[in-house]
Symmetry: D2
Subunit: 337 residues, 4 copies
């Protein structure tokens, strides 16, 4: 069977990881093209990964590269235009979250995906590919905890990255869109219903700079679903022990918790500081297996003609809900969707 030829756009910190995975760890894939406005990043792709075709413009890559699929890891603001162009050209598309940064962008992509329904379209909700989250979903589907009615999920980043995020907030979507998008997706995935109402609060408890930008460094959102279920979605930019993403699913027969303590590995240390374990440092370390698995799933879907479980409307929902959370936080009011 022929290998799937892929062109990647975006070779920043996360883009490089994706490129490495596609080049080395995905059976059936060939990373044939790479696109970045930064020459040093293209040099890296050529030297380290042996990518044969390099582009400084996405349009050029679409026009000239002999590829089956594009892998979009560029800045969020470019996502929707690149998705639409690639779909239009008949390519399979992977896009990092968020799918789009406005509801209009998301709607346009949903429409295009319908039109191009024979092309594989996958959004990078990487946690769904993490072995632990997958396992939790399997237990849930087997009925181990009965009917789920409450999801708690939170995303916490190391405090030492906060200063860098201060810059990023100016162009990014803020803490709800940038950090909770995964928690929103997980809650919807586990509960199997749509969020109808959100109430978000928060503050800049450690870094006043976020407040100055209309953002926050720690937030909590209470959400309710159409089927009556509840969710508590939290975010923090000020963790000191490590990147701490964890989730709890409460059902009518039991509870599943995923990643309560973000252990780095299986080592425990016993010394004058007590009994302790080091923690993962960032989302990439935590979800390394998930990033590889999502790339393999993308390629496997293309090769087998299978459709991904994640749908364009999942991307739309995450953006809409994240925006509603932002609005709730700013207005101090409950927002209905």
């Amino acid at each position: 069977m022929e290998k799937i030829r892929i062109g990647i756009v975006g070779l920043g910190r996360l883009g490089k990881r994706h490129a490495y995975n596609l080049a080395n760890l995905v059976p059936g894939a060939n990373l044939d093209a790479a696109c970045s406005p930064v020459q040093a990043e293209l040099d890296w792709a050529e030297t380290e990964l042996g990518v044969p075709h390099l582009f400084t413009s996405f349009d050029h890559m679409l026009a000239h590269a002999d590829i089956d699929a594009v892998w979009i890891a560029s800045s969020s603001v470019y996502h929707s235009a690149q998705v639409l162009a690639a779909l239009d050209r008949g390519l399979h598309v992977f896009v990092e979250k968020p799918m789009g940064v406005t509801p209009d962008e998301c709607d346009a992509i949903e429409c295009a995906a319908v039109t191009h329904s024979r092309q594989v379209f996958l959004i990078g909700f990487v946690r769904r590919f993490d072995p632990s989250y997958k396992y939790a979903k399997e237990l849930l589907d087997k009925g181990v905890i009965g009917t789920p009615f409450l999801v708690r999920s939170q995303t916490c980043d190391l405090d030492e990255y906060a200063e860098f995020q201060l810059e990023f907030v100016k162009t990014g979507g803020g803490i709800f869109l940038d950090m909770n998008v995964h928690d929103i997706d997980l809650a919807r995935w586990f509960i199997g219903s749509e969020i109808k109402e959100v109430h978000a609060v928060g503050g800049s408890y450690v870094h006043p700079g976020f407040a100055e930008l209309g953002d926050a460094d720690n937030t909590v959102c209470l959400a309710t679903f159409e089927n009556g279920a509840m969710a508590v979605l939290s975010a923090s930019r000020t963790a000191f022990h490590g990147h701490d993403t964890h989730t709890e699913i409460v059902g009518s027969k039991g509870i599943l918790k995923i990643g309560t303590t973000p252990r780095k590995n299986r080592v425990e240390i016993f010394d004058v500081a007590g009994a302790r374990t080091d923690c993962v440092r960032d989302f990439y370390e935590r979800f390394e297996e998930g990033f590889i698995a999502e790339a393999r799933e993308f390629v496997a879907c293309i090769r087998s003609g299978r459709r991904p479980e994640i749908m364009p409307r999942d991307g739309t929902a995450a953006t809409r809900i994240g925006m509603a959370m932002t609005e709730s936080f700013r207005k101090g009011a409950i927002i209905k969707l």
Copy 2:
């Protein structure tokens, strides 16, 4: 030094535990009198604990028993009247939570406590006496986690007790007043500010009977404090693994978690069911040490002339906030205090 002579009122399930502790495990205390409308309970106090003076009426006990203090473990509806009568008679008073079931009752007690400021008055916020919660407070006060700005706290009871609670709800205050009162107190204690706003949601996900009574079996409340801090206070009547009370305090330098997994003891079992630990069954098993410690503290305060850290206004706040949570849940709206 003379022993403190105590009269207890209320010898139900929890009252019996208190009586046993006072009779056997509190240095400096003599359980000299007991009061209950149930003869079998009085017989138990006489036979098992050797309590010399038995009463079927609280007024009789106040009038005729030669005691220094009363220990009130009767039904919640009697708390305030018994507190007021005992204070008026010059006795030291311990009262189980809730201090009162209406704001008026609470206000009256606050006034009386001022008038009788030389008598010890203690409310049974037992978790403050639990070794783990105390230890967390000490770490907090030492600055180990910096300034606290978020408390998550939840109280979960075993599902098998839910049917019994269906009866209790009719006369009790409902899930917020009955179960979250401790979480409210902990959140105020750890944050050191007053709650100004609550938003509670919930449902009867397992036992529809609670909905029929205007109550719920699982709830979540988002609260904000005057100083800007946040709290998430949850309750569940449908835990299957055990009584699960746990709390998390997030600060500007770290996080404290208390009781995340409600282990019964230090035993782990490894067998076909995996690696597992049994859990505590009910709040008494979980807080056995706290119940003994609060009784010792009560007696120690009396003997040393020291004032308890818990104040009447803590009891008032718990009742007021619990009522606001109930109102929020029923109205589906944010309630300001």
Copy 3:
């Protein structure tokens, strides 16, 4: 029912704890007499505990105190003589471990216990009274792990106490007799057979002073039982995280572990040092509940006429096996019992 009148001998660090428990926390007990050669310790008993009758000589206490039972917490070298004298006088006897320091002493006590079989005689194998070890034994007896065939058990003390132990070793029995006596007792209790062979190794890895005294600071002993089962019994004087006593019982259907991580309480700390828990500092902190429970059991046996489960031959076995381990360590050879 009359309270049991108890006289204690030995008011050192552990003796004081026992005295406090007997005076305050044991229903049905009266601490009526105390004996110590140290006047300050007697003053403490009088002032803090209100013990009415004080003695500087054990013989005087036996001759003149109006007591039903003695509680022996004196130095190990006095144990056997005091046990024999007290039994001879018709008193119930509790003795701290070790029951005796030579096989001859142990044999004499076994004989005396037979002669005085209507008096309660209890050896302070406190771990059998610890809630977690008791729970493990109950699970074992219920067949949860099938037939046990391997016990791993270890006793580790904080390194900061090692220097003090250097002094103690000169008169005490050394690391095997002093520290492993509890592990030996647990292994025999859980396996239900007698140890027939031991092979002990060790060294002074941190504090060379122990080697100079013919002792060690860390040891491991491999033991086999008459029924074919195995045990690994370890000791360490050089723990840095806390007092770490833990035990594992391997059976034909599963495994029980008791106290793998010696958590101080239910608090976890998440900060720059990772995810961690503080640990118990010493055996008294770890076994506080067990010390109270063994005192209650002693008094309950006396009041009810029940015989303790721990038998004099358990004390003899612990001493004999501890001595065989010492011999094995010194000779570098397998020793048969």
Copy 4:
């Protein structure tokens, strides 16, 4: 840079995993040839992995395949002959443990490795490549626990595989050689000294069939090192919770534990069975990352001209010590090396 062309021999259960990894997950490697006496296995390699050159004889593969390296995953009895032939032909060699099944075989390989010192030779001590064991070694090397003086390490397989192992024991080396070889290697790696004496005991506590074959289903070995350090090496064929490989390193300043509870992933389940976690099922699930890492290291060494840290004498030591443990178990005596 040219890719390293590899030929694999042995496509059994583990061999297939190695082949999959080499074909898909190792940057810089090409799986160009495969050898097996079983046609179905060769078909699998061709169909699933696209291996172009297939052989039924190892000699044919050496003679005719255009390869740079061989990967030996055949039965243990063929290891040494295949290693010697491949080294002789100038190829780089990876060999699964055990390197050889007799001291003579091991000695011959050590000599050949010296002669062919410019070829990479790597033994499959996979645990050294596991992220947790690697991390522990790094902490050890940084001095986090001071000087190590005691290693406890054990390998436990699921009881349900025991019946299959009954067959395997007849031709394999028995429980010490087959299971403890990794624990031996880890103990030597962490302590940095040679084992001078072993004393092994054990029995067939669950499956009497092992005793009939002169083997055991559960064993414990006490070992001492030339530098005075100690090790306790255990094995079990009768675990019910999962594959349980764990190790503890005790040093003069602290303790490292690796894998104490063999959690399958980050999911915890709370239900009527308590608080629990599922465990890994077999060594492959536990060491999947290690198997990939060792393949990458092999290829990276070849490409960079670097020598592996694992040396031929490590393979010899593991075999010699495993044989001494077997002898000790059979004779009931301490065996010196």
